[in-house]
Point group: D2
Chain length 359, copies 4
């Protein structure tokens, strides 16, 4: 629990904003999988700060080293140690927070939970915590791809009040997603999204957004009824990402407005398998994958850390005005893309390995 | 995993639609808690079929017996065995399903996962599976209430396209919720909702809806970063309920449209504690409860089983028309209320007990 | 934890001495396994009281009912509910224990742990708790036998100071073990053991003993380094059985006296596989099965409940003389045989299913 | 499972003989505990190679770095990353093993389990794996000492055929244990043990031995019935240490020879608490600690790696003579002392934290 995720394919992570390093141990990765740092670094690069002028200026190369669990570029079946040093530590930026908890951040709740907190504030609530997830998720994704041909692609489908048109989930690729800095493949609105983010930053403010994700090539049969339904594990995984506020699968909240006769996905023959002609189920029925693409959406709130002045209270309850320093993103969804993909991969690799015990 | 939920306060359930009994084992319930069947039966009664003319006609009293773990009406700290017999078993109703998987139901995916399935179709995907959750959740809720003064209230906030007005989450009570059969405390629309459900039933069709839930009296500090954030566990719990398609906490998907300066919850002194003047966080920040009410919403799809004719395919891929028999609800949200409350209680009791190890 | 054992093939049990029933939920049993009560009852019969004049006179038929998880005599892959009623409840026998904790029994420690205890004393420390294990273990054993051809046989190798000669672990069978009431297949000493037990009973006293166990047909590769080595899981399983005080695998404590050159098991070709010419490893090397028979021994202390007068102290620390009433066995090892076999089967089935995720 | 141990206080480890580093993540350590590397290094120093002329000559300083989870020398409640580099890697020493599995070592079983193995042989079966345990155990021990006043002391009680006299478990200390290189506090036989180890080394052979351990200051009430009895968790922990073959608690195997009237531990008043006048229970009754010292013994086989020629077979089944190279200890018990202490501390810290959820 806590800092460990997964049952068979499981990751344990460590590290906060201003300690010596962050990293993870991946246990349960099948043996004989080709794996080097080159399989992991690309997703870390998509996550790292400083990719564009609207991401935090913290300088980190986020270069990963595999410490154990492989030999000659192949996994041994033993735990894979992953290590990423923290270079740009500036605890000094956070002096004011010693007295004033940032609104809607984790400073207050960490203090209430542990009776202590890192001087940088929320400790593990730092975005740097997600490095371990992304590195571990890249390994899960490699296995899913090699063993099952799975493809996972996430993209930005909304920034603030700007929605992208529906994307063809069968065809979307990471190359299309990365074609612009917002990571929204709808070229008509991605520029507008960019401008909105730049404007929010200029105002010392922040913006929320929505990330959509498709997982293709998932065989039917994954997911464990009743408490570990595949959508339940995905929801768990996604809501564990910092700043998330919602999750929906397939038709989601909008689907509640339909009648069953319009909502049901009729079965049809698709080559040698039984498929469905629509996909309001989002690829999962009764908690188990049905062979169709798994499609879900994740809501990200506007980042809590803003440089605009805020009226709030200090730990003693005194009214104060806070102008937060420190480095932060005005909108997290572009950098959240590889994190969503990583968490999806961790859920799916675990489910696929567990299913081997049911066959 | 699978049929077990929770780490310290944990429930394991068993039973499907047409076996001899359903039930659960609750392990980790603190000792010396007053507990008899009378603490559990009311929530089972709110869940059971036959409460109104729009719920399934299956005849079950759903009477629970505590088999172990208590003596003289007090818990011993040992596992609590819970037992509810299945009385009204009619596997014959399901003969047609042997060949035709019901669209958007679990017949197909159970077959793909296990290479076998119960003759009643989706096996554990049956609504009867939820009896174990509700019984276990009632115990969790009893402990939360006695130990911490927690109150959990869920209500119907939408049926199909009909939305209730916002409810005062500080004041809503189960008595107000149960004042009408739809369990929507907005009297202006509850009649309209009822009519919509009746109409759908008449058409052999079904309707979706949304359940909202508030948990009051939760102390600050519950929830385990990073993977077991409190909202992640709640999302997991809610998406494990049959027919759910989405979860959102606090401002949810709508909150993604706001800027941080409008979204953040400023701190204010509230008596002896530090609270927030708004609650877009939904009572959780950084994965840890902040002492404000926890508020979330759950999307339920229209039930997949409808008696209207549907064009679909049989297991062999042949086109067929299915007119499902069997007993089913045209809209599950009124009966889902105690299930949502139960799952919330299980998450919160577990989190509260785990927090004792951090103090 | 606590009342749940296993990761993939997992059992959760409930029930104490004088509640309404005892039982278990078995989760993770593979689907499509032929299974009825007739597969389970024989081991319960070997465990039940009243088999001979030296076992407790408590009258229980210990008849098991499968409540869920099978249909038409085949497993569905869903949780298997197991139910055994308690018939002969006599809490009145235990009145004296309200004030005086029985020496070396669990009355005192349960009170210290929970601040309450069942009136029958140690609650879950009752021998009736083991019914759930034996029933679940019989299912695990059925699967091991059908899927892998595994055979598990335990026998009594010592009673008090009387040791059996070494038994041929390759040939020992349950029929040979059950040939006498002591369940010691060494005919030369089994009569002597029986007389010793009868004599102890006559004296209101009790005797310890040792159970040996062999598991044949275990494929190489089972067991999870590093913390879940196969011998570690077996040790955990065996020391969780009431009244156990020790576990040794292969050469065990005696092997510590040898030099490596005498202790090592040389490899030899055995048909198409690589085997070892001796088996001081007990079938496990580096925590992983090597294909040779797994052999271990378990120490059982003399039962704590004796009817002889004992000088001790009551809960308040006052010196008292205790003459325990209630029903109890003077020596548990004959009835412990199916319990040891059950726990071995649970460990091995779980390990065999986990190994499917590594291949 | 696998490379993770514990439920609340839990450690995950990584690393094998010839990778870049070994280490661990400790999750669930309570916040606000004073902790620096100086609390961990002493036990690593007692474990490290090269302490005497009869330990492996591998040159490693085994210097630990805390990567995360503390600030200003105090724990934050977040995961503690622990890092120890591997310096003296010599995979070349192991070339012969590519074809010939060492008898009674893990080369063969790792190959069978994973279909691959590290060139150094047994991979995680390397003694270097234990560094993570010792480091994590030192943290557990620090917390046990600060929070509860617990003291844990292990010592060598037998080497080969040489047994130490019984040690006074109430008074034994690490200083007394470390007074000689064998770590046997019985001065009469420690010299003889030393000579036996030197002689075995000279012969290219190895010796087994027994480690005893006492845990003092354990409060009554720790341990979780029924499957996670305290002795079951200790047995699991000890049998997970490389080269162990047996575990016994309290009277152990010898206790099976006694009658109950001689074996039972009568209760007596001890100051303000109820204690026992003897301790054949080894501090645990019914799986729960009773407040007396916890005493157990662990059997270690003679190391499998010996330089003497051995007749065996290669992977293809051909008869061969193996003369193993590489560096190894002729007897592991002196260096096993801190490992046994570490595993005991991990079990007890976890049990003590879990017990907080029962109170």
């Amino acid at each position: 629990m806590s800092s460990t995720f997964g049952t068979v394919f499981r990751v344990s992570t460590f590290g906060e904003s201003h300690c010596k390093a962050v990293g993870a141990i991946v246990d349960g990765c099948p043996p004989r999988l080709p794996l080097t740092e080159a399989d992991i670094q690309p997703q870390l690069d998509r996550r790292k700060p400083g990719q564009s002028k609207v991401t935090t200026a913290r300088e980190e190369s986020d270069t990963v080293t595999i410490l154990s669990g492989t030999e000659n570029g192949v996994t041994l079946g033993t735990p894979i140690g992953l290590f990423v040093p923290n270079k740009d530590q500036r605890p000094g930026d956070y002096a004011e927070m010693a007295k004033i908890p940032r609104p809607s951040h984790a400073d207050f709740t960490y203090q209430m939970k542990y009776g202590i907190r890192a001087s940088s504030g929320g400790g593990r609530a730092s975005a740097r915590e997600t490095i371990g997830r992304v590195a571990a998720g890249a390994i899960a994704e490699k296995w899913l791809h090699v063993a099952l041909g799975v493809e996972i692609v996430a993209w930005v489908s909304a920034v603030g009040e700007i929605d992208a048109d529906e994307i063809d989930a069968e065809r979307i690729s990471r190359a299309l997603v990365d074609a612009n800095q917002v990571r929204c493949p709808d070229a008509k609105v991605s520029g507008e999204m960019w401008d909105a983010i730049v404007a929010a930053k200029k105002d010392g403010d922040s913006l929320g957004g929505i990330v959509s994700c498709v997982c293709r090539g998932i065989p039917a049969g994954l997911g464990e009824p009743v408490f570990d339904k595949l959508e339940a594990k995905l929801a768990h995984a996604m809501l564990s990402i910092p700043a998330t506020k919602g999750f929906e699968i397939g038709s989601g909240f909008a689907g509640t407005r339909l009648r069953g006769s319009k909502h049901n996905d009729p079965f049809v023959k698709k080559g040698s398998r039984l498929g469905t002609s629509s996909n309001r189920s989002g690829g999962i029925q009764g908690g188990i994958s049905n062979g169709e693409p798994i499609i879900f959406r994740v809501a990200f709130k506007p980042p809590a850390t803003i440089s605009q002045a805020q009226m709030t209270a200090d730990f003693d309850g005194n009214k104060v005005t806070l102008e937060a320093k420190g480095r932060h993103d005005p909108c997290v969804v572009p950098r959240a893309i590889p994190i969503v993909e990583a968490m999806a991969a961790l859920v799916l690799a675990d489910a696929a390995l567990i299913q081997k015990t049911r066959a």
